[in-house]
Each structure stands twice: as structure tokens, then as C-alpha cells.
Point group: C2
Chain length 346, copies 2
């Protein structure tokens, strides 16, 4: 096995450049890619830029014993694509910065890039540059993704209004349930019900097409992707919009797999849906009269379900989960705090 110590930084960069030339796709807007002081590109007129960056740290955001390098690469890129999609935009240019240990296998690093490209290629986006350095203890992958959105079409977190319907795509909570299975390795990961959960964790789907369709209607007031859990990210919308929210427990989308996982762990299915989980699904708010139009717009590009789960209130900062019997739990909004252990959550 060749390591970075064997091939050197420049040797590794040459292999990455060869991989990108062969499989990295083309972008008419890219003037200078890797191999100069900076990448250079021509932005499209009539569009605004969207820029996001997210870092994954080994041992914290990914574990090499439960995910392959290709899967880690896909997940890292999906996180960033999802952020661009949640603004209504589409990704164009990625910069990849990595810190690697001297003993890292060169082929594993190339596999990370193969993972990046598996996500970027179908969207016509490219890797425009990056940086590789040696890290002390454990690797990190830090991706900056630049996208574009038609001027005036961007959907922010801060636009939710009292009375808005709250919609969510897909099956939130599946990624966390998948991680639970992997972490406990109890053997129930072999069950057919486990597969969608494992997949949701290992190779989550972004909703960039759905986000584009939603932004394209001009009807959404607020949008966010779920990287801190359904309630956590709904809380972000409430905070930025200075609003509150009521969520109907019996309206929450619970997949068959999640119901199976809840039976296994003895937990309440709805708590599995709402807790910390990075699913990269979308939460959207819009005036109730526009719900059908938004759903129809998504249905034209995707088979992902869109579920109405509640409404925006004027009770700023307050998040209520209302049960079928009329009782309610009031949650204090708190995002997943990477520095607080245990994870505090209302």
C-alpha cells in the first residue's frame, strides 16, 4: 500500500489532477482550475453567488471502520450540495482542502475524490482547486462549494410568516437511526428494514433538484436543509424569522424502517423523526394556499414525498409538538452544539 509518505504531496496532487482530467467533467465557466495561485471562473450574469463550507473531522464526523472512502467523499460533498440547494441554487465549483496523516493510503485519498465526483458529475459541477496539507492526528476534509442562483430567486431561512404551512421532504431521522445501527452493531443491521437507514447515513441524498423546483415557484417563504435534526433546523427558521412553530405529531412522516427501528429500541417513533439527525432533507414554509403548487413543483422533478407537518406561529422562539390527544410539549430551540456534551436538545 502506497502512503502519502511514499508518493509525497506533489505526487499525490499529480494523481488527483490526472483523476480530475479523466473523470472530473468540464465547466465552461472555469478559466483556471488547479495549478495556479487561485482558481478563476466567470460567473453567469443575472445570477447571484452562493458559497458554503463544511468540514468533516475524522473520528467526529466520519469513521473509517463503518464507511468506505468513496462513501465519506460522497457524504462530505452532499453536505455542501445540500446547503446550496436549500437556498434554491445549484452547485458549480468545489474547492477541497484536506489535512492528511503521513500514513494515509494514496488510493484512499483518490477514492475520496471519486466520491466527490460521484455527487458533482450528475449536476455538472466541477472541482476547481484545493489544498492538501499534513495533519497531526486524524484527517479532515473541508469543502467550499460555490453555486449560483437566479437573481431574486434565493430562499432564505428568515422569511417564514405567521400562518405559513411547514413542509418537509422525505424521511427525517433515518440517518441518525442508521448511525445507531452501525454504532451498536447488534446484528439487526442485517435486516432488510435496516437498509434504508444505513443508506441514509452512509450515502445520504441531497435535495438540490427539489430545492430548485421549490425556489422556481417563487412561493416559498423560508427554506433550510436538515443537518441538525427536524426540530433543530425548524428552530433555526423560527429564530431567523422571529417566529414560532407548531408541529402535529401525527402528521410527522415515519418510514416503515424508522418504525421498525423504534420497535427495536423501544423508543417513540416521532422522537426518532424529530431528533438530531443529518438527513439533508428540506424544511419549507409557504402560505397555506400554495402548498399544493409547491408539492406539484417537487413532484415534477422527484418522487420524494413532501409532508405538511404544522404551521408557523407568532410565538417567537417557541416550538410546540402537539399530540393527537391535544397535549403538547414545548421545546426550547437549541441546535446541535458541537462543543456541548451531552448534546443538549429541547
Amino acid at each position: 500500500m502506497e502512503t502519502l509518505a511514499d508518493v509525497g504531496e506533489f505526487g499525490l496532487i499529480r494523481r488527483i489532477r490526472t483523476l480530475l482530467e479523466e473523470r472530473g467533467g468540464r465547466d465552461a465557466g472555469l478559466i483556471v482550475g488547479a495549478g495556479d495561485d487561485a482558481a478563476a471562473m466567470t460567473p453567469r450574469s443575472g445570477y447571484d453567488l452562493l458559497v458554503t463550507c463544511d468540514a468533516m473531522v475524522e473520528g467526529r464526523h466520519f469513521l473509517r471502520d463503518i464507511m468506505s472512502p468513496v462513501q465519506i467523499g460522497r457524504r462530505a460533498m452532499t453536505m455542501n450540495i445540500s446547503d446550496i440547494g436549500a437556498m434554491g441554487g445549484f452547485p458549480r465549483w468545489a474547492l477541497v482542502s484536506m489535512g492528511l496523516e503521513l500514513g494515509a493510503a494514496a488510493e484512499d485519498v483518490l477514492d475520496l475524490y471519486r466520491g466527490f465526483l460521484e455527487e458533482l458529475n450528475p449536476l455538472g459541477a466541477v472541482i476547481a482547486g484545493g489544498n492538501i496539507t499534513r495533519s497531526g492526528d486524524g484527517a479532515f476534509i473541508d469543502i467550499t462549494l460555490i453555486g449560483e442562483v437566479e437573481r431574486g430567486r434565493m430562499v432564505r431561512r428568515s422569511g417564514a410568516r405567521e400562518g405559513d404551512a411547514i413542509l418537509v421532504s422525505g424521511w427525517p431521522g433515518q440517518a441518525a437511526a442508521g448511525l445507531d445501527l452501525l454504532a451498536h452493531a447488534r446484528g439487526d443491521g442485517e435486516a432488510p428494514e435496516a437498509f434504508p437507514l444505513l443508506q441514509a447515513y452512509r450515502t445520504p441524498a441531497h435535495r438540490v433538484r427539489e430545492g430548485r423546483a421549490i425556489a422556481g415557484t417563487g412561493l416559498a417563504n423560508a427554506m433550510i436543509d436538515i443537518s441538525d435534526g427536524l426540530l433543530g433546523d425548524l428552530g433555526h427558521i423560527c429564530e431567523e424569522s422571529r417566529a414560532g412553530a407548531e408541529v402535529q405529531e401525527d402528521a410527522l412522516p415515519v418510514s416503515e424502517s424508522l418504525r421498525w427501528a423504534a420497535r427495536g429500541s423501544g423508543e417513540d417513533p416521532s422522537s426518532l423523526v424529530t431528533r438530531d439527525s443529518d438527513d439533508y432533507e428540506l424544511i419549507v414554509t409557504c402560505a397555506p394556499m400554495h402548498v399544493d403548487a409547491l408539492r406539484a413543483a417537487v413532484a415534477r422533478v422527484s418522487e420524494v414525498p413532501v409532508t405538511r407537518i404544522g404551521w408557523i406561529t407568532d410565538a417567537a422562539g417557541r416550538l410546540d409538538l402537539v399530540r393527537a390527544d391535544g397535549t403538547r410539549s414545548t421545546f426550547e430551540r437549541r441546535g446541535w452544539d458541537h462543543f456541548s456534551d451531552p448534546r443538549a436538545r429541547g
Copy 2:
């Protein structure tokens, strides 16, 4: 001392946002800064984008016992500003991604941001967003900087032509000499001659104004900043331009401080100028007839000297250092390889 474990990620982010609101400057093109899925900005029409990212890893690229957090922040931002300047552009929007240990002092993190702003504010550039996560062992700072350059004005590494004059700004090698003084702590760091060397390492200057002036003439064929040493980066120009270079030893700019350091260490002054050193000076090539015009353009914005040190040849990949007595050393071009120890250098 409050640590990140005390204030939490969101607590820290709130403090950073307050600092940025108070001291972060304004940018008319920035539509969405921190606090949404992605930052959003309107690029100027008639300009191309320049994007660079560089990571600094604790213990490898910075040491907390020889630099203050403000100095570390300034240095990290200067590295990136320098890359934008070396393409002829100007910086506009920075994204800062950091991995921090749980025990890091919150005030030190804010000091890093104060350092970033000390470099960005005078240029009218702003911090548009970022990401904070917990790292295991040692911190990392990864900055992505987005700049703009007038369409058609960008200066690449790859445009050097046979017969071009090679110019260099300032006093290359001073940063490495400063680091030597700090690393050995022999007490000679107290001498007045040491000050420029220590400053070159701790708070290096970027040459973005000089780079803008050079690009504005339209006369430069190639440009690069010095982050791998004078010969290392001249080698990058040669490689990308498929050319060679001859450098006259007695033309190399040797500062009084560097001459003093050479006396102290018993080394050859010219080897201190040419070796690995990240000085963020510029190397420029142009047709000999344009040397005076380039120098005059720089002199209008800066007092930094511009020294002619040699010429571009057609001997692809070959770099010759020619001494006053006519003898020459031929160097194999090799950049500083972060993964190869000891640092191999021709």
C-alpha cells in the same frame, strides 16, 4: 478563562457575529452573510472570480508559543490575500472554517478573527461566513477567499516566455530567517537586525496592491507569490510555462538583516534568499523592454523594491544560479513537499 466547552459552539458563533457586526466592515455585494445555509453575494459584471483556499494546521504551520492569536490570524489571511494578489485581483469575501479543541480559549478564537479583520478591513473585504467544528488534536484554520479581477487582466503562472526578465518584490528569505531565530531562541532575536526578520515571519505583508498595479499594466507575462521559496516558486512558473530560468546570484536582493543572519549562522547570504521561505513576495516575468514600466507602476502604489534577478530560458524545467565568477549551479525544480521529510530541495 472561558473555553469552548463553557460557551459552546453557538455561544462562540454569537460572539463572532457580534465582533463582525461591530468591526467587520460592510460590502455592498454581500446579500447574505453568516446565519443561513450559504452566504450569498452579487458578483460585479465585467469581472472574473478568483478563489483560493489555504489551511494552517497547529504545530505544523503555526505554533502558539511563538505567535499570538492575532498574529496567527493575520498570517492565515495574508497567505490567502497573497494568492488573490498574485493573479492580479483583489479580495472581497472570506469564509473561515476552523477546527478547535474543546479546551481552546474563546478569547483566543476572537483574537484570530481580529487578526483576520486587520488584514481584510484595509482592503474593503469582509468575512461572509464559515464553519466551526471540534477537532481532536490541535487546531486548524482553513480560509477560502474569493476575489475579483477585471476580465482579461488576470496574470497566470503559465505565461512566461523565453527572454523574459524575472523580477522579484521585497526581500525573499526573511520569513525563514525569522523562523530560525524563533525556533532556536539563541537570544540574537533581541538584536535590532532581527526585527525585520521576526516581523517577516510573524506578520508578513501581502503584495496585493503591487500585484494589482502589475496586472493593471497588462505587461506582465507570469506572476506567482512566494510561499515555497524564491527558487521553488520560480520553478512553478517554469513548470507551468514549460520554460527554464537563469538567476544571477549577485543580483539577488539581500537585506541588511539577512546579511546579519548569514553572518550569525555562517551561511551563504544568497542561499538564505533562495531557500524555502513563505514571504508572500511576488515573482513577475515580462519582456525586458517593459521592466521600467512595471517598476514605475509598482512605485506609484508602494515603496517595496522590485529587483531584476535573471531571465527566462527555453531549457524547460532547468533552473540555473549563475555566480559572479561565471560558475553555475543547476537546480532540479522541486517545491516544498509537505509530505516529504527532510524537505527535498534542489
